[in-house]
Symmetry: C2
Subunit: 142 residues, 2 copies
DNA sequence: AACCAATCTGCTAATGATTTTCAATATAGA
DNA sequence: TCTATATTGAAAATCATTAGCAGATTGGTT
């Protein structure tokens, strides 16, 4: 579906910035396009390794940084100790499990727009973090 | 003002949990009660060192963990590489500078209450993260 | 189809933040 | 004051992330 389109945009963005299109880069971005759970770099690495067993963790770190600079992915403010990434760069909110750290997109919008100036800060954007217990962790409680 | 009261609650909580009341613990909590900028552990350490030059960074790490377990302080979901702590455990929102990472409390409330169940998550609470450029960084732009 | 310059990659070592280990010390209750 | 137990400081260990470098790939040229 629009995964194809997104990959096309990525190729385009690389060309535009003089970046080379390597299988590793494509693979990293594909993993991010596929997953809904806001994976860590380690998660992405494990996924990419299935296809390219020789890929290096350092390359995955470098690639997510590149993708972020291209504006194709975002860091997600997180709970645990590792950074998580999100290929959905449109405005949306997150649902965070306080037990296991799972992060999902919230499927509704809050129709609220912040003032452009709050307490002297020049405001860019906002995001809502909703904390709770995910269905999987609830099941474990019994 | 109610810093006294909060310290009293802390003493009480320690007694209740069989934790000893040490000058280091009190000092760490006092720093957190005083500061409005959601300091990192390193920040707290530097502040505590003024009073107790021999304090160890490890002790500060241990103490913030203890305080968090007691429910007296909270980790703040963060942007940069170090965890930041907040002695304000009531519901409130944060204003984050995307340049320098400064975090301030937002002085207004959003009168919105999330549903108690969202996409299967049992919702506890939420917080709003507003990103922008703080006055100090704006001044540096000139 | 082979060439070349520039960019990338994988490996390894370095860094920064946080946690653990452990012997010595301080606290709280008897 | 005495003692059991929790806590501390200092140093080593761990985890996530970044940097350095030599060899391999990419993409534009012949």
């Amino acid at each position: 579906m629009d995964r194809k389109k997104k990959l096309g945009q990525f190729i385009e963005a690389c060309r535009h910035s003089g970046l080379k299109i390597t299988p590793q880069r494509v693979a990293v971005y594909e993993v991010l396009l596929t997953r809904e759970d806001h994976p860590t770099v380690e998660d992405i690495y494990n996924e990419v390794k299935k296809k390219y067993p020789f890929v290096s963790l350092a390359t995955v770190y470098r690639t997510v940084e590149t993708l972020e600079e291209l504006g194709l992915i975002r860091k997600v403010a997180y709970w645990g100790s590792s950074v998580r990434y999100d290929a959905n760069t449109s405005d949306h909110h997150h649902l965070i499990c306080v037990q296991c750290g799972a992060i999902r997109d919230v499927e509704f919008c809050l129709d609220w727009t912040p003032p452009t100036n709050i307490q002297g800060y020049r405001v860019h954007k906002y995001s809502l973090h909703i904390y709770g217990v995910c269905p999987v962790c609830q099941a474990k409680e019994n």
